[in-house]
């Protein structure tokens, strides 16, 4: 039954991402490469709606307690390193982890490279996690309402979103503050996508008692594939904390289903709107950069305990400071990734 729920959510997430062209990678990358903040502003709106949604769920739903069901993790050097690798990787790979699933559904061959890199990188990260554990286990966990109390935490966070939004508008110098609610015919606006995703994440928390995440599903899929080839990863510490040993085979982890359903959702969305196409990358070089970027992202997600969805959207909306630290590192990483893109990927 749980699998059916997750499949429906996954298909819906994939569908909305495909229709709205909402892109986490571009919300950071375009700041530097294009001096364009349309998607940055849309992401801030998503975060604000999601923060309010999680707060309401926390207080009014008996099934959602952010301290238990939210995404609250320690932050430290590992978050910074993981976020930087993730931010850099997503620019050269042409998508982040979430975007990769959507692009796969739409028929992009380049993202096969990204996906392979993500699988391999997250395995590498899970395997290498022991090395990082002394850092992670001594790092602080900060749940903002515990620090400041609920009213102050909510007000501070929403105020910070407003300030960031204001900076985004000023930096771009746009007069059209809400331009991200516009879209060309045949697709949804970024803003519409942002709001639907944030609301769906809230319903997901209430119904499933976890927050939306992508990278742990990818890691468990990778572990499952390795198990398929006779390599048992069940004794790895990462997989031990995730589930019991006998379950560590392909598809056993519920979030694997969510990941695969997101690809399916994007596939259905593009097929229904006559946008599906097998797309070959312009040059072979794209594959190499996709794999490299995927590898960086996969490894990064294991350090930072999440990706743009799990650590950033769900983490910040759970009032966990690690989400903010991750975002700052992704921001820096995408600047560096943009330099690599300009240097190596543009003819």
């Amino acid at each position: 039954m749980q699998t059916v729920y997750l499949a429906i959510f996954g298909i819906f997430f994939g569908y909305v991402l495909q229709r709205s062209r909402f892109c986490f990678a571009a919300s950071f990358r375009d700041i530097f490469l294009l001096r364009n903040t349309a998607l940055t502003r849309a992401l801030i709106v998503a975060l604000a709606v999601n923060t309010i949604g999680f707060t309401l769920a926390h207080f009014f739903s008996p099934t959602a307690d952010l301290l238990i069901n939210g995404r609250i993790y320690p932050f430290g050097v590992h978050t910074l390193v993981g976020g930087f690798l993730f931010g850099c990787g997503m620019v050269i790979a042409g998508s982040c982890a979430t975007g990769c699933l959507v692009r796969l559904g739409e028929g992009y061959l380049m993202q096969l490279g990204t996906f392979a890199g993500l699988l391999f990188g997250s395995l590498l990260g899970a395997w290498h996690l022991n090395w990082w554990l002394p850092v992670i286990s001594t790092s602080p966990v900060l749940f903002l309402p515990e620090l400041w109390g609920w009213p102050a935490a909510i007000i501070m966070q929403l105020l910070l979103f407003a300030v960031l939004f204001f900076f985004a508008v000023k930096y771009e110098g746009t007069k059209d503050v809400w331009s991200f609610f516009w879209s060309p015919a045949g697709s949804w606006s970024y803003g519409k996508g942002a709001i639907i995703l944030a609301l769906t994440n809230t319903f997901y928390l209430i119904l499933y008692q976890r927050t939306w995440g992508v990278s742990s599903g990818i890691t468990n899929l990778a572990g499952g594939i390795l198990g398929f080839f006779g390599v048992c990863v069940a004794h790895w510490r990462y997989f031990q904390q995730e589930l019991s040993a006998e379950k560590s085979i392909l598809f056993a982890h519920p979030l694997v289903c969510l990941v695969l359903a997101m690809i399916l959702g994007a596939f259905l969305a593009s097929l229904l709107h006559r946008e599906f196409r097998i797309r070959r990358p312009r040059t072979k070089k794209y594959y190499y950069f996709a794999m490299l970027g995927g590898l960086m992202m996969g490894y990064g997600t294991r350090l930072a305990s999440g990706c743009n969805v799990g650590a950033l959207l769900s983490g910040i909306s759970s009032f966990s400071l690690h989400g903010w630290i991750f975002s700052i590192a992704v921001f820096a990483g995408s600047y560096f990734g943009g330099k690599l893109l300009l240097r190596y990927l543009i003819e």
């Binding site: 006559r274 946008e275 794209y286």
Partner: protein, 75 residues
């Protein structure tokens, strides 16, 4: 005069960066025509040049998963 950019197989934001360079090289009144098979670009190119540069844009899906975007450089 029309200047064509074949961006088939290129990923975001490369088509936008190429169009930005091309638009600085051409005369006012000229147009840049981008052919792209990137779903995100079909929205982001138009959004970028329309709201940031105030250049009138037109996008049409000319085949399954292929779009033609016309950007007119105005004074």
């Amino acid at each position: 005069m029309d200047h064509k950019i074949d961006a088939i197989g290129e990923f975001c934001p490369i088509p936008i960066i190429r169009a930005e360079v091309k638009l600085t090289q051409i005369k006012p009144g000229d147009r840049v025509i981008i052919i792209t098979d990137h779903t995100c670009s079909s929205a982001s190119v138009v959004s970028h040049f329309q709201s940031k540069y105030n250049y009138p844009c037109r996008v049409a899906q000319i085949d399954e998963g292929i779009w033609e975007i016309i950007i007119a450089k105005e004074n």
